[in-house]
Amino acid sequence: MSLSAVKTVLLRAATDAKFRASLLKNPDSLLADFDLTEEERQSLRCLSEDRIANAVNQAEFSDLSLNDMRI
């Protein structure tokens, strides 16, 4: 388990077109190189191109604060 590995994947996907295409097309082989839990792999496998873009600007989460997660 490594949150930093998740971040690494997201950052590379957002900035490296070849890596991004590989993640979207053949995630299993790509993610095998990273130290991830099975749940993290599943989560990353579900990424769409749009969500990768959001990972960069995270605009849709800009107002997310600790308090908002209660329900």
């Binding site: 388990m1 989560s43 989460f61």
Partner: protein, 324 residues
């Protein structure tokens, strides 16, 4: 497109049909904390509260409160402890839940699941109960360390499987965008599990459960366990990733929090807003009725300082966190 999971009891079928519920001027939730003793000793919990004390609510009082809640139009009974699903308090729990069921309330029980049997789960399933299981880690050693109980991870996972075999594990209702479910996994975010947020959110989705992040409350024993302390920055970053990668667990963030539309009655009658509110506004035994308690809560929550000056920070939980 992934459908967002919502929990029956905190959310409602009408909402999935596009009907608004008037959270802003009504009490929607009744939280009852009938006792605070527990068979675990979670590091972040309230050690000094985990025992039976003189003057706790009687069964008759609890049933009366729930009955009045039904008459007042409250929709959900939240049952929190301590541990609610213990073998030696099961008959009390049944009577309180049955009253809620008879009054048309949904019941949501927060539990560690360690003593839950198949018979209990079937009975709860048939009484419109949603279950909130504590899932603080997917690593057994971390889970057991947090609960300070060997084997606790396995016992909770066993209970989750038992619950999923009943109707509690089924989707109640769904539309094109959302699913209403009866399973909730709760995580108290802390330094020992912050790395797991993405995994925990996915684990909940895989089990058809809504995932909820609970506040680490430094009013409890977390204050004496500095190893649990977590910075807002680390927590927020991990949450952003968890939400980004788990669209099923996202929802529209509504401010103010829904649990401002809640009245909480603690084990000796103290009245607060949400279950994490310790700035009590009175005691139901002195106020005389649940209606009187609700009126006090409404007056407090509607106060200008809560509404007009709202800045997005929960006044109840604002002091629960360690910030950098």
């Amino acid at each position: 497109m992934a459908k967002v999971l919502r929990l029956q009891g905190l959310s409602f079928r009408e909402e999935l049909d596009g009907k608004a519920i008037r959270f802003q001027d009504s009490i929607v939730y009744l939280a009852l904390i009938p006792w605070e003793f527990c068979n675990w000793e979670c590091q972040y919990c309230h050690e000094e509260q985990r025992r039976k004390e003189p003057g706790e609510l009687t069964l008759q009082e609890m049933v009366g409160i729930v009955r009045e809640g039904g008459a007042l139009g409250i929709r959900t009974l939240l049952l929190l402890g301590g541990e609610i699903l213990l073998r030696n308090t099961w008959e009390i729990t049944q009577q309180v839940v049955k009253e809620a069921f008879d009054q048309g309330l949904i019941t949501l029980i927060y539990t560690n699941g360690s003593q839950m049997t198949e018979e209990m789960a079937e009975w709860l399933a048939s009484h419109n109960v949603s279950l909130a299981f504590k899932v603080d880690s997917l690593q057994p050693d971390v889970y057991d360390r947090l609960s300070q109980r060997q084997g606790s991870f396995e016992s909770t996972m066993r209970a989750v499987q038992i619950a999923r075999k009943t109707s509690i594990g089924q989707v109640v209702y769904e539309n094109g965008r959302e699913k209403l479910v009866r399973l909730l996994f709760t995580t108290v975010g802390n330094a020992l599990n912050v790395e797991e947020y993405v995994s925990l959110a996915r684990f909940a989705t895989n089990h058809g459960a809504r995932w909820m992040m609970e506040a680490l409350n430094h009013r409890g024993d977390a204050a004496t366990h500095p190893g649990l302390a977590l910075s807002l920055k680390d927590h927020s970053e991990a949450m952003r990733l968890a939400m980004l990668l788990n669209p099923e667990q996202q929802h529209t963030f509504q401010l103010p929090c829904r649990l401002f539309s809640c009245v909480t009655i603690r084990k000796k009658g103290a009245v607060g807003v949400c279950p994490q509110d310790y700035a009590f506004v009175g005691n139901i035994r002195e106020l005389g009725s649940l209606k009187a308690a609700c009126d006090v809560i409404k007056a407090r929550v509607m106060h200008d300082q809560w509404r007009a000056s709202w800045n997005g920070v929960c006044p109840i939980k604002a002091n629960h966190f360690v910030t950098e």
